[in-house]
Amino acid sequence: MQFGPLYVSDTEGYDVEKRPGIFSGKIGVAFLAPALVFVAIFLILPFFWIFYLSFTNRTLTGITAAHPEFVGLANYERLFDTDRWMRLGEFGNALWITARFVLGSAILGQAVVGLTIAWFFYRRKGFLRELVFTTAVLAWIIPEVVVAFAWSAFLDVDRGTLNTILAALGLGKPDWLFDHPLLSIIIFNTWRGSAFSILLFSSALETIPPSYVETADVVGASGWRKFRDIFFPLMRGHILTDLILITLWTFNVFTPFLLTGGGPRFKTELVSIYTYRTAFKFFEFGKGSAIAVVMMLINLTLAMGYLIMLRRQKVAS
């Protein structure tokens, strides 16, 4: 595929295809060096460091802080200890909560909400569209602390906005963060992150020529039929991209901690929160690193699966 003239084309007799890219010469390396050093120090080194730590019993204080010992797979065995790992506050429990959180807030939440809103406003203009899109984008870009504070206020049992409304309607005053903690953070995260899916799906819809839809209109296809036969197949790549990205983001998200602190009784302890608690509350760096490595592997698997699917999708179309 060609994207316009990247090179000046008046180089007569010069094979532009073989012309080296600007970053392949020695000067290029010099230009890239600062960035590469940065990446090495802040991304690659920590990765190997954590990988190494996960095989030790290093802690923050005590004798193992200064003289960590090599413990082999002990940290991993503790994580996957089948007798305990599904108990409250253990790794399996955190994984299971995370799985439900991802399913609920990323796939059923953000993706479905995003698709629905994008579809609803397809080729529509006006105040309502602007309102919905602006709100969604604001929810997405406002700093997490602010957002968490706003939601705490919104969900507060006695004086929260939501319960004030519900009470006025005679629907009682449920203690959201206490009685429905997982549901609360799922709804919160759906609200927080839908903008990405809305924008992605809207722009995907924009790329579909109007004549495709109008052809279907003229032959009498229903809305659902148009979605199934035309929009969905043409948006498959975008949907795939959206799903994987929001899955990865949601998998690693930490913001719910600011709302629930992982509680009550570990009911909202996502893996990210579990890692935090292990590494920075109990200061078990070895075990914390092991969790980080496992999370990294899960992320890697998801990303690989995504890349493979995307490639297949490209080949098919």
Binding site: P209, E214, T215, A216, D217, V218, V219, G220, P233
Partner: protein, 361 residues
């Protein structure tokens, strides 16, 4: 099949009046071309018939049914879009069969009917391919096939040939004409190409700025343009349009103060027109002017401005005062540039247009 009726149909987009008080009847089985420059409202008119736009005023009828406010699916029309609108993820078979699928026709029957239509359009052995795997001409046929397959009452074509190269376009033109005669459907065909409209249509509707400028069969529209717009739009090269004065008493047409044509012999024909005011436009087609190297009675002098070979004939553009006059010259040789030549106008085949641009006489 059915007739189409538009009565005082107007469509606005904000301030812009895309279709302005259009009244038009397309007879049952007739092939009508909407012709006009880009932006004149052809597509909008077609979309109004299809139900993809709703008019601000007026009514639309298909067959005996009023359809002004019916959605597209209830109008029983088939439309071929300029970009063909073939679905890239479906094979030609599924593309062509899509209207049948939507109408709940079983797969078996669908395949049968698609194959039949596709064979007629000579794309029968391409049905398993996707649109990207066939040529532009074949895509065009596939989109026509999709329109044909569900036997709608009315066919709407929006510049279906404009994305083809010149040779394919001529082929497709012949093929469409043949098809239309064979199938005999009511069709409205939008184009900005006057030659295409002339070649295909039973009647041509010339539009400009959302208004109908003239309706007539191709020869009528060509040989008797109702106004200067149609005159300048039909024919390649189009008609010469020369601002002029008429001095009936002296029996002369005067352009540019210095150039006179003797119309004494045609005085009667033009006497009625004169009362319409002093400013006129004289229209004459390039093929109705002859060139002479020497001065003869009744000729006016001009300089050769440009010469274009058309293969077997020439298009000679000459300068008469400040005006350029095109002449089609059926000779082996053309006069050299800047040479003075004398033009003889075939006065019986001229048209006189008033200051409002409307044909007089």
């Amino acid at each position: 099949m059915a007739k189409i009726l538009l009565e005082h149909v107007t469509k606005r987009f904000g301030e812009l009046i895309a279709v302005n008080d259009v009244t038009l009847e397309v007879h049952d089985g007739e092939f009508v071309a909407l012709l006009g420059p880009s932006g004149c409202g052809k597509t909008t008119t077609l979309r109004l018939i299809a139900g993809l736009e709703v008019p601000n005023a007026g009514r639309i009828q298909i067959g005996e049914r009023e359809v002004t406010h019916l959605p597209p699916r209830e109008r029983d029309v088939a439309m071929v879009f300029q970009d063909y609108a073939l679905y890239p993820h479906m094979t030609l078979l599924d593309n062509i069969g899509y209207p049948l699928k939507v109408r709940g026709v079983g797969r078996r029957e669908m395949v049968g009917r698609v194959t039949e239509v596709a064979q007629k359009l000579q794309i029968g052995d391409l049905l398993q391919r996707r649109p990207a795997q066939v040529s532009g001409g074949q895509q065009q046929r596939a989109s026509v096939a999709r329109a044909l397959v569900h036997q709608a009452q009315v066919f709407l074509f929006d510049e279906p040939l404009s994305n083809l190269d010149a040779k394919l376009r001529l082929e497709a033109r012949a093929f469409l004409k043949h098809l239309q005669r064979e199938v005999g459907v009511t069709a409205v065909y939008v184009t900005h190409d006057q030659a295409e409209a002339m070649a295909l249509a039973d009647r041509i509707v010339v539009m400009n700025y959302g208004k109908i400028m003239q309706i007539g069969d191709p020869l009528q529209v060509y040989s008797r343009p109702a106004n200067t717009f149609v005159a300048s739009f039909m024919g390649n090269p189009p008609m010469n349009l020369l601002p002029c004065r008429v001095d009936l008493a002296a029996g002369k047409i005067i352009f540019d103060d210095d150039y006179m044509l003797d119309i004494a012999a045609h005085r009667e024909r033009w006497s009625a027109a004169i009362s319409n005011g002093p400013q006129f436009t004289l229209g004459i087609r390039p093929e109705h002017i002859s060139i002479s190297p020497t001065q003869l009675p009744g000729t006016i002098p001009s300089q050769v401005y440009a010469v274009q070979p058309l293969g077997g004939e020439w298009l000679v553009v000459t300068q008469v005062g400040r005006e350029l006059v095109s002449v089609r010259l059926f000779q082996d040789e053309a006069p050299p540039l800047a040479e003075t030549v004398w033009l003889r106008f075939d006065l019986a085949r001229t048209f006189l247009y008033g200051s409002d641009g409307e044909l007089l006489q």
